[in-house]
Amino acid sequence: MTDLLTVQNLRIAFPSRHGPVEVVRGVSFAMGKERLGIVGESGSGKSLTGRAILGLTPPPGKATAEKLEFDGIDLREATRSQWHDIRGERISMVMQDPKFSLNPVMTIGRQLMETYRTHRRSTRAEAHERGLEMLNAVQIRDPDRVMNAYPHELSGGMGQRAMIAMMLVTEPELLIADEPTSALDVTVQIEVLRILDRLVSDRGMGLIFISHDLRLVSSFCDRVLVMYAGQVVEEVKATDLANASHPYTKGLFNCLPRIEGGQRPLPILERDADWAL
């Protein structure tokens, strides 16, 4: 299997009063057309890793890598026009909160069509048709209404689905989803995951699923990278997560309360200073 994306020794540093501080410290992974989960707690560097792939490290941060390759293209050296062909077209990103990612003064339909037409030469009618198709694909029941709606007129789950539709309208080969379901209710969460799942299996898309929710990721992804203090401490098959070897992964998994009842008091995650070395 050829790799869709290869990341080698990715480092992201932010300047501070005491010199540069590395928040991502040598992350390496390779992935094909699969569901890859990146799990970590706040500050582990998981979101920055996702953004760095698209060259979107927030300033004044600086990202460096030995290799950052997407389908044979060296992303470190990508020119403006190459990025234009990649971002939104071949790699898309879904953020946590649709409220910040959708333009509040444009209807969903117009945003969908605009995204499509920046990347594909097409007539308005074609773009409209394509937009409706995408909204159908993300299980929106009355796509005609949503096409003409403004983001604030949609509920959280609807907005997130519209957002996913927008990211998928160009049929990207890789989707980076940063906490795509964290702002959603559990019942809606499952539906959104179902949509993502179908896109991976039906269209052969690669998916990077970034989340703090170990349980959710383990039940959804094929493979999981566990990040701690800017490093990948463990890479594990999702189904094997319960028998993970790294104490951090184990601790993270065990400290979750369970409906069936379990230990009381809950086992506490004892952090070892060695993990962050």
Binding site: D197, L216, R258, E260, P265, L269
Partner: protein, 257 residues
Amino acid sequence: MALLNSCDLEVTFTKGSEHVQAVRGVSFEVAEGESYGIVGESGSGKSTVLRAICGLAPVTGGSIRVDGQQLVGARRPDFYRKVQMVFQDPYASLHPRHTVDRVLSEPLAIHGFADRETRVEQALEDVGLGQGFRFRYPHQLSGGQRQRVAIARALILEPRILLLDEPTSALDASIQAEVLNLLDRIRSERGLTYVLVSHDLSVVAHMCERLMVMQHGQAVEEMTRESLQARNAAQDYTRKLLTASLGYRAAQEEQAS
């Protein structure tokens, strides 16, 4: 007799000519020393119930009784010595310009306690923060530490009822475990009564003996911890929540079968 009693509680928010009924006739009882959970998704009105109890949301119908006394209009000062609340977001519930010391000593000053120094020190020890945290500002604390300060603030007036509004949903999983353990320990030590609101069934199953499931401002059903653990739900909506809580793969299988 129940320590806390809500009977046909209704809360309606009025904004201009618009009326939003957030809670539509919710009744429940919580006995002294019990831990009671309220579960629901966003917009179910679960948090509004808590806010109505402590007077932050208007009670427009029904009644709330604490210790047999019906709560009417503005709460009197002695009410706050009986009932306290911990908020969801520790980043929003601490005043950005006040030190931990001020946060903890202010309620003591309001209620005229004499031995403030020792009480503040004790409160910090009780929630597992040392004296080193006493003069810090919120921005010098992590999320978990902030939530501990918020819990210390709620406990410092020695209330009998603690209202917990999603106390761990803004925290990382490992910190959540620490805070839940802390709350559990404090309750058993002091015989407190908890009303805990959460969207997370596993948190409620861990913390509460009984729970109520809410949807659209109404109670769907009341369950015991045992029936929740056995997944014995009487209502479709509760079953749906239970299925979703299993995670993606299990939910898929359950739906398929």
